[in-house]
C-alpha cells in the first residue's frame, strides 16, 4: 500500500508530467462524459476480501456519509443535466453503485431515477451494480417499475463465491445471492437483468465457474481480473490459461449461451471494430464518478493503486463535469495510444490490448505509463482469440473459394503468410484467376455466388 507524501510523488505521470496546456494549444478536445457512476451509499453489507473500496489502499470511505444527502443528490442531478445540455448528448448512462446501492433503499433509488429522467435533457439509461444479497420481490418490483437494469456480482458456485464474498462474520453470501438471482432470472424480472460480474480467482476451476454462472441464465457475463499493479502483484498466476479455458468452452458451444463481454469485445477488436469496454482497445473513456459526499472522482477502481488516486479535488457543489474533463487522469484515459508506455506503443497488439485497464498499469513513483501488470496474460489471450477467429473466418472464406471454383480441384494453393499470423495463406494461382489475395478472391467470389 502506498500513500501520497511518502518519498516521491506517487504518480508523476500523468499528474505532473502530462502537459495538458500544450495539448490544448495543439488542438486537443476532450470527449464529454456519457457515463456517470453515482455512489449512492458508502457502506456494504458484505466484506469481500478483494474489494477495492474497503480492503485496498484507499480507506477514504471511512469519512463518507452513509447515504448521499438530498442536497448532494439534487446537485449531482443538476450537474448531469447541465453536462448533457451543454454537449447536446443524446443519452447518458447512470450507474448506481456503492458500497451496496440497495442499502440506500429501493424507493429512494426509484425517486432518484425519476428525478434524473425529469431533469436530464437526454435519454437516461439507469442501471445498478449490486452484490445481490438484498434482491427480493418487493425490491425488484420497485426497480422494475423504475426501469433500472441490474447487474449482480458473483464469482461462481458456493465454494468459489465463498472464497472472497463473505459477510463480516465470515458467512458465505452465496445462498442469499442465489435467491436474488433466481428471482431476477425469472420471466417476471428478466427484462431488468443486465448480467453477472465475476472476479477471477485462478484457484477456482474455470469451466465450473462459467457453468455455475450460466445456471442463473444471465444475458451477459463479464470476467474481471483482480485489481493489481506493479507494486501489488496479482494474487495468482495463470490468468491467460484460465481465461482461454472459459473462452474455448464459450466459443465452442453450438449456440451462444450468453455474452461474455471481455471475449465479445476482444473479437470485435480482432475484427477491426472498436471495443466498447474500458481495459481493451484505445477508445476514450467517458466515465466519471460522483462519490457519496458529492466529490467528483475518477475511475473508481483507481482506489486500488494508492490512497487518493481517484481524487480530482472537484465537487458537484462548485464544479461542473467539464472541470473534470481537464483533470490529468481523465485526459490520460481519453488519449488512447498517447497515454501508453514506449513498450506498449511498440507492441503489435497495442490496438487490441490498449494497455489494459488503467489501474493495472500503476507503479509507485512512476505512475500509469507502464504496461499492464497482466501484460503477458493479455498477450497470450489476445493471440489465442485472434488465431481462433482468424481460422474460422478463413474457413468460411475457403468454402467460398471452393464454391466458386467447382470442378477445379487443384485451384487452391498456398503461400507463406505475413504479419502477425505467420501462417500460410490460401491463394488462387495465377493460371486460374490471377495472383489475388484471399480477401480479393472472397470479394470476387461473393459477387459470383450472388450473381
Amino acid at each position: 500500500m502506498t500513500s501520497v507524501g511518502l518519498e516521491g510523488h506517487p504518480a508523476p505521470w500523468p499528474l505532473l508530467d502530462l502537459d495538458i496546456a500544450a495539448m490544448r494549444a495543439a488542438g486537443y478536445q476532450p470527449v464529454p462524459f456519457r457515463q456517470f457512476i453515482l455512489k449512492v451509499h458508502s457502506r456494504c453489507n458484505l466484506s469481500c476480501s478483494y474489494c477495492y473500496v474497503y480492503e485496498m489502499a484507499d480507506q477514504a470511505w471511512r469519512g463518507l456519509p452513509k447515504r448521499m444527502s438530498p442536497t448532494v443528490t439534487r446537485t449531482a442531478v443538476q450537474r448531469i443535466a447541465e453536462h448533457a445540455d451543454r454537449h447536446n448528448l443524446p443519452s447518458v448512462d447512470i450507474i448506481l453503485h456503492g458500497g451496496e446501492p440497495l442499502l440506500a433503499g429501493a424507493e429512494w433509488l426509484a425517486e432518484l431515477a425519476a428525478m434524473l429522467r425529469d431533469q436530464v435533457p437526454a435519454r437516461v439509461n439507469m442501471s445498478m451494480q449490486t452484490n445481490g444479497t438484498l434482491l427480493r420481490r418487493p425490491v425488484l418490483e420497485i426497480l422494475k417499475s423504475a426501469a433500472v437494469s441490474i447487474g449482480v456480482s458473483l464469482d461462481g458456485d458456493a465454494d468459489a463465491t465463498g472464497r472472497h464474498r463473505r459477510y463480516a462474520d465470515g458467512r458465505n453470501s452465496f445462498g442469499d445471492i442465489a435467491d436474488g438471482l433466481n428471482l431476477l432470472a425469472s420471466p417476471e424480472f428478466h427484462d431488468c437483468y443486465a448480467g453477472i460480474l465475476c472476479t477471477i480467482d485462478v484457484s477456482n476451476d474455470p469451466i465450473a465457474v462459467y457453468e455455475a454462472l450460466l445456471a442463473f441464465r444471465p444475458p451477459a457475463i463479464d470476467l474481471l481480473l483482480p485489481h493489481a499493479n506493479w507494486d501489488e502483484p496479482p494474487p495468482g498466476t495463470g490468468y491467460a490459461d484460465w481465461l482461454i479455458s472459459v473462452f474455448e468452452r464459450w466459443y465452442g458451444a453450438p449456440r451462444q449461451e450468453t455474452r461474455i463481454r471481455l471475449f465479445s469485445e476482444l473479437i470485435q477488436l480482432v475484427l477491426g471494430q472498436p471495443g466498447a469496454v474500458e481495459g481493451l482497445g484505445l477508445l476514450p473513456s467517458t466515465l466519471v464518478v460522483v462519490d457519496t459526499d458529492g466529490a467528483i472522482k475518477e475511475l473508481d477502481s483507481l482506489s486500488s493503486s494508492y490512497e487518493g488516486a481517484a481524487d480530482t479535488g472537484l465537487h458537484v457543489s462548485s464544479n461542473s463535469f467539464d472541470d473534470a474533463l481537464g483533470h490529468p487522469t481523465t485526459v490520460a484515459r481519453q488519449i488512447g495510444a498517447a497515454a501508453l508506455s514506449a513498450q506498449c506503443q511498440a507492441c503489435p497488439v497495442m490496438e487490441v490490448c490498449g494497455g489494459g485497464l488503467y489501474p493495472h498499469r500503476y507503479r509507485h513513483e512512476a505512475g500509469f505509463r507502464n504496461p499492464s501488470v497482466y501484460c503477458a496474460d493479455l498477450l497470450r489471450l489476445i493471440d489465442h482469440v485472434r488465431n481462433r477467429v482468424a481460422s474460422d473466418v478463413r474457413r468460411l472464406t475457403a468454402l467460398g473459394v471452393r464454391l466458386d471454383l467447382s470442378g477445379q480441384a487443384n485451384a487452391l494453393g498456398h503461400r507463406p503468410g505475413r504479419g502477425m499470423l505467420g501462417r500460410q495463406r490460401p491463394v488462387i494461382p495465377a493460371e486460374h484467376v490471377g495472383d489475388l489475395s484471399l480477401r480479393a478472391v472472397f470479394v470476387s467470389g461473393g459477387g459470383l455466388v450472388e450473381g
Binding site: W250, Q256, T286, V389, V393
Partner: protein, 54 residues
C-alpha cells in the same frame, strides 16, 4: 497497425453474403458478426465501465 495486418488475412466482413453468415447458425461467431455490423451502423461506440454496466 496490427489490425491492418490482420485485415490482410481476415476478409472484410462487409463483403460477406447473408447466406454465408447464416451458415454459422446461433454460434458465438455469428453473434460477433451481427455485433460487428451493428457497430458499423452506429455513429460511435461508447466505452462502458468494466465494473458497472454490462
Amino acid at each position: 497497425m496490427w489490425n491492418q495486418e490482420l485485415g490482410s488475412v481476415i476478409p472484410d466482413l462487409r463483403e460477406m453474403s447473408a447466406d454465408r453468415i447464416a451458415e454459422l447458425g446461433d454460434t458465438v461467431l455469428a453473434h460477433s458478426i451481427d455485433l460487428y455490423f451493428q457497430r458499423i451502423a452506429e455513429d460511435s461506440v461508447l466505452v462502458s465501465a468494466f465494473n458497472s454496466n454490462i
